[in-house]
C-alpha cells in the first residue's frame, strides 16, 4: 500500500491503470507477484559463496551481503515507530553499505531513496526533505553530510550506521534522533519477510525539474520486475557474469546493474570514484562481461584511443543509455568488443530504467540511423507507444511527434505531486489506458522500422518564424567538426522565438571552415551565427550534456 500522504495521486493513477481494460499492461502488471528482493535471496540460497558485489575493491559474497542486508532490514523492522513513510534513504556511495542498505531497505518492505555525498548538500537535503523519509542508512565516508540532513529535520529520524561502532558523539550532538551503531544492529535471523504490496515502492529517484525543484519519481517494485524479467532473459545473464556499475545509485540505470546481476547470481562490479576514470583498466582487471554506461564514456574513451580494435574480448554485452548514442562512437566501440552485442537503450526514469532498445548491426544500422544518432529501436514487451502532435492526435507513419508510452513499466507518478503527475500521465482520446508524455520527439516508424529519436520536444524552436529542430543543426555540425559533443542554442530571444542560433562544440581546436561546411547543408536561418569552442562543455551529475547550463553560458558571453 502506498504511504497515506501520497495516497491520493497514486490511487487515482492506479484506478485509471486498472480501468484500462484489455490493455496488455494490466496482464503484465498483475503477473508481477514477487518482491524485488526475491531474486537476490534466491541467488544467495543457490550461490552463497559466489561474489555478489565488488565495492571499495573488496569482494562480498552473496551469503555475506545477505547477512548485512537482513540485519539492516531487521533493524528497520525493530523500530517500527519510524515507519510512517514506507521509504528509507540510503546516504552511501559506492560502498558495501550502499548495496546492503538498498537490499536491507527492500527486505524491510520499504522503497529506497538514494542520496549521494558527491552532490551539493543543498540538493541532498532537498531530496531527503521531499521524500519525508523517517529512516536513513549512512556509510562511513558520507558521515560529514549527515549534519545537513539532521539539522533541519522536523521529525525524529532513525539513523542506521553499519560502519560506526560508537554513536555516542552523534547522539549527544543530535539528541532528538535515534542512532543505531554497527554492534546494535538486529541479528539477521530476526528479519521477517514483509507482506507483498501491489504498489510497493522499489525506489524514489529525483530528476531535474524544469522549475529547478527536483521531482521525485515513484517507481514500484512491479515496474522493475517487469523490466528485469525481460532483461535477464534477453541477455541470458548467469552466475558467471560480471556487470559494471558505472552509474551512481541516484541515476536509475544503476538499478539495471544491481538487480539484473542479483536476479541470476552474477556479480556487480562497482568501481571506486577513482577507478571510474580508468574504464579500460577496470574492464580488464575485473573481467567484466556486461558493460553499461552513458554514451559519453565511449566518446571519451575514443578520444583517449582506448577503443583500439579487439581491446575488450571478455565483454559479451555492451549497453548504452541516458543520452543520444553517436554512430561514430558505437562503431569504434563495436570494433573494440569483438565478442559483444551492442545495444542502445532508451527510457526516462518515469518508465523504469529503459523501455525501448536497438541492437547495433554493422551492416544495416548506419543506414537506419538519422543525423548520426543510433535509433532507439523497439518497445519492450508489453510497452505500447503512440507518436502524437501537439493536440495529442496520432501522426501518420513517417511523421514526427511526441513519444507517449504506456505499459507495465510506467511508474506511479511524481511523489506527492498530483498536479505534475496529472500533467505528464494522461489519457489519450480513442486509446485505452494512461500514457506517459516523454517530452521526446521521435519519428513514427513505418512498419517494421525502428523508432528514431530526434530530440526533445522543447528543442524545437522558432527562428525568425521558421520551425527549427536544434537536433538537426547539431547533427550537421557534429558531422563536420570532429566532435560528438555539440549543443545548438537559440539566440537571441525575440518576442516570437529566436533571432538565430549559436552552437557550442566540445573541441579544443577552432575549426574556421566549419561555418562554410554547415552552410552547404542547412538553410541560412539554421546556420549558427557563432561557434563557441570549448575543451569541455558542462555536464550534469549523470554525465549528460547540460543544455540549461550551456544556454546560460550565452547570457554571460553576450552581457
Amino acid at each position: 500500500m502506498l504511504p497515506e500522504a501520497g495516497g491520493s495521486w497514486a490511487s487515482e493513477l492506479g484506478r485509471q491503470l486498472k480501468n484500462s481494460a484489455g490493455s496488455s499492461s494490466v496482464a503484465a502488471m498483475t503477473s508481477a507477484t514477487r518482491p524485488l528482493w526475491a531474486g537476490f535471496m534466491r541467488a544467495a540460497r543457490n550461490f552463497p559463496q559466489r561474489p555478489a558485489v565488488v565495492a571499495e575493491r573488496e569482494t562480498v559474497s552473496y551469503a555475506d551481503l545477505r547477512d548485512s542486508a537482513c540485519s539492516i532490514a531487521a533493524t528497520i523492522q525493530r523500530y517500527s515507530e519510524f515507519s510512517s513513510t514506507q521509504l528509507t534513504a540510503v546516504l552511501a556511495y559506492r560502498s558495501r553499505t550502499a548495496f546492503a542498505g538498498v537490499l536491507g531497505t527492500l527486505l524491510a518492505g520499504n522503497g529506497y531513496v538514494p542520496l549521494n555525498r558527491t552532490f551539493p548538500e543543498g540538493r541532498t537535503h532537498a531530496m531527503f526533505e521531499r521524500s519525508e523519509c523517517r529512516s536513513l542508512i549512512v556509510d562511513a565516508k558520507s558521515l560529514p553530510q549527515l549534519g545537513c540532513l539532521l539539522e533541519h529535520a522536523q521529525q525524529r529520524i532513525l539513523v542506521i550506521l553499519p560502519d560506526v561502532r560508537d554513536v555516542a558523539p552523534l547522539a549527544a550532538k543530535w539528541p532528538m534522533h535515534r542512532f543505531v551503531a554497527s554492534e546494535d544492529l538486529s541479528p539477521a535471523s530476526h528479519w521477517q519477510e514483509p507482506a507483498l504490496e501491489t504498489d510497493g515502492l522499489a525506489y524514489l529517484l529525483f530528476t531535474s525539474g524544469s522549475t529547478g525543484t527536483p521531482k521525485g519519481v515513484a517507481v514500484a517494485q512491479r515496474n522493475v520486475i517487469s523490466f528485469l524479467d525481460y532483461m535477464v532473459e534477453r541477455y541470458d545473464v548467469s552466475e558467471q557474469d560480471r556487470l559494471s556499475q558505472m552509474f551512481d545509485m541516484t541515476f536509475d540505470l544503476s538499478a539495471f546493474d544491481m538487480f539484473v546481476a542479483w536476479e541470476r547470481g552474477a556479480c556487480v562490479c562497482c568501481p571506486t570514484q577513482k577507478e571510474i576514470i580508468k574504464p579500460d583498466s577496470y574492464i580488464r582487471n575485473n573481467d567484466l562481461t556486461v558493460w553499461f554506461s552513458v554514451p559519453s564514456t565511449a566518446v571519451f574513451m575514443k578520444q583517449l584511443s582506448l577503443l583500439k580494435p579487439g581491446s575488450y574480448p571478455g565483454l559479451r554485452v555492451s549497453l548504452f543509455c541516458g543520452e543520444p548514442l553517436p554512430v561514430s562512437s558505437v562503431q569504434a566501440w563495436s570494433e573494440a568488443v569483438p565478442n559483444s552485442i551492442v545495444e542502445n537503450l532508451y527510457g526516462p526514469t518515469e518508465l523504469t530504467i529503459a523501455c525501448t532498445l536497438y541492437r547495433w548491426d554493422a551492416l544495416h544500422s548506419e543506414a537506419e540511423s538519422e543525423m548520426g544518432i543510433v535509433p532507439i529501436g523497439y518497445p519492450y514487451p508489453g510497452m505500447n507507444y503512440l507518436v502524437v502532435d501537439e493536440e495529442l492526435h496520432e501522426v501518420s507513419p513517417g511523421e514526427q511527434g511526441e513519444l507517449l508510452m504506456s505499459g507495465p513499466q510506467m511508474s506511479l507518478g511524481y511523489w506527492k505531486d498530483a498536479r505534475k503527475t496529472a500533467d505528464a500521465f494522461i489519457n489519450v482520446t480513442d486509446h485505452t489506458g494512461v500514457y506517459y508524455r516523454t517530452g521526446d520527439r521521435v519519428r513514427r516508424p513505418q512498419s517494421g522500422a525502428p523508432l528514431i529519436h530526434l530530440g526533445r520536444v522543447d528543442s524545437q524552436i522558432k527562428v525568425l518564424g521558421h520551425r527549427v529542430e536544434l537536433g538537426e543543426i547539431e547533427a550537421v555540425v557534429r558531422k563536420h567538426c570532429g566532435s560528438d559533443a555539440v549543443v545548438a542554442v537559440g539566440w537571441p530571444r525575440t518576442s516570437s522565438g529566436y533571432g538565430g542560433v549559436e552552437a557550442f562544440v566540445e573541441n579544443q581546436v577552432e575549426n574556421h571552415h566549419l561555418r562554410d561546411a554547415v552552410r552547404s547543408e542547412l538553410p541560412e536561418y539554421m546556420v549558427p551565427r557563432k561557434f563557441h569552442f570549448s575543451d569541455r562543455l558542462p555536464r550534469n551529475a549523470n554525465g549528460k550534456l547540460d543544455r540549461a547550463a550551456i544556454s546560460k553560458l550565452l547570457d554571460g558571453k553576450h552581457d
Binding site: 577513482k274 576514470i277 583517449l304 570549448s534 551529475a541
Partner: protein, 91 residues
C-alpha cells in the same frame, strides 16, 4: 610532439581547471597545491577527468599511456604532472 617539465604541465593544468571552473559557474580555485586531489575536491568529476586526460594528450601532441599510474595518484596534481613529464621525457 613536445617535451615538457612537470612545472609546464602544471601551468597547463592550472589554466585548464580555472577555465573549467569559470565555465561551470564556479569560482576560480586559485593556485593548485601539489597534494590537491582534483576529483575528491569536487573541482572535476570522473567524466571531466577523462576529458582532462584527452586535453593533456592534445596539449602534448602525443598519446600518453596513463595505464601505469595508479588511479589514486592520477587525480592528484603533483603526481599527475610528474608522471606526464616523465612519460614525455622517456619517448
Amino acid at each position: 610532439m613536445i617535451e615538457a617539465s612537470s612545472e609546464q604541465i602544471r601551468t597547463f593544468l592550472q589554466q585548464y581547471i580555472v577555465e573549467k571552473s569559470l565555465a561551470g559557474g564556479k569560482e576560480s580555485p586559485g593556485e593548485l597545491a601539489d597534494d590537491c586531489d582534483l576529483l575528491l575536491s569536487g573541482m572535476i568529476d570522473s567524466l571531466g577527468l577523462l576529458d582532462l586526460m584527452g586535453a593533456i594528450q592534445q596539449h602534448c601532441q602525443q598519446e600518453i599511456d596513463f595505464e601505469a599510474l595508479d588511479p589514486e595518484q592520477l587525480t592528484v596534481v603533483g603526481p599527475l604532472c610528474r608522471y606526464v613529464s616523465e612519460q614525455l621525457a622517456s619517448r
